[in-house]
Symmetry: C2
Subunit: 205 residues, 2 copies
């Protein structure tokens, strides 16, 4: 679209929206024109909330999850198992795992995974904080829940090396055939891994 904006302000607003990930210029224009049809008070609320969110949001000093004030809701929850820590890439992954309701330990948010292609090295992640947490002795197991990609495996390996001096269990989430998937449509790598990492059937009749 060769754009002829009737207004400089409109063009600037479209430019700002088009900077968001996954939002092209056509979608940005649609969003901006939608704002015009909203009440001014609603739009002001939106703009202020965006700024307030960025300026006031805090990170949990223990696990780097988002927090409104000091320790996050998970770290400060006394009913959670403080001896087991699940290492994830981002805040979104904490929410995804919480939604499964299968984990009752604490988290550690790395803030990314090692990716030389994107210029992310070990020093950009909160790895030292994790090592410090483990060195305090309360943690018995660290579960790595990173993406099943080359970057995830690299990060797993580095964390494994950094944590090996401590007397703890390290594990990684299972990789295998997704529930509901048919074998016919599962890729060979995943199928191969699912055979290597088979689990014992224990059925109580």
């Amino acid at each position: 679209m060769n754009d002829n904006y009737p207004s400089k302000l409109l063009e600037e607003a479209v430019n700002e929206f088009a900077k968001l990930p996954g939002i092209g210029r056509k979608t940005a224009l649609r969003l901006v024109l939608h704002l015009l049809r909203c009440d001014a008070s609603e739009v002001n609320l939106f703009g202020q909330l965006v700024m307030r969110f960025r300026n006031e949001i805090q990170y949990c000093p223990q696990c780097h999850n988002l927090s409104d004030n000091g320790l996050c809701v998970i770290c400060s929850n006394s009913s959670r198992d403080k001896s087991i820590v699940c290492v994830v890439e981002s805040v979104r992954d904490v929410m995804l795992i919480e939604n499964t309701q299968q984990f009752n330990g604490l988290y550690h948010v790395l803030g990314g995974i090692i990716s030389p292609m994107n210029g992310i090295g070990p020093s950009d992640l909160s790895i030292d904080l994790l090592v410090k947490r483990v060195s305090e002795g309360q943690i018995k197991e660290v579960i790595m829940a990173l993406s099943a990609t080359l970057e995830g495996d690299t990060t797993n390996f580095l964390l494994y090396r950094k944590l090996s001096p401590f007397n703890i269990k390290t594990s990684t989430i299972a990789r295998g055939v997704s529930l509901g998937d048919e074998l016919e449509y599962t890729d060979e790598l995943t199928l191969g891994r699912s055979i290597l990492n088979r689990t014992l059937l224990v059925i109580n009749l």
Copy 2:
């Protein structure tokens, strides 16, 4: 997604983004977490621009197009033909038609089309302003460039009735087979209309 937000502020920000058209809660979360990775200064600029856009944008008093100050760039352009006016639904349609570079007259932005389903009646549109413009006598032709839908046709009919007391030409943009389309895949209504509204072939050899 059954959401467990680690922070109230995060949840509020996601709620605000999810109000935008075409943005679901998953996309909203992705956008909000993207803002966290941006510089605070950039995010503040974004928030302020959203508010400034909504509060400072003006409508051209003549055609209701967007404008930064007074008459819009099209109405104030002295090289445009002021005797022909193209009626469109929204600011976006002005931009679309401008991009074709096939029209050198002025516009009139209705601000919507008649749609009883969505509670939009004639009084919600800038129809009276159009009638007033035509009554001033400078306009010789009004082209309706509305969507080829029931709502568009209803609006066309109403405008035609309102403008019929004046001695002007009224026309509507051509409906027919899209350029590049094969007849095999054109729907019957469009094909039928394209035969009724055939245009004379005038080839200068």
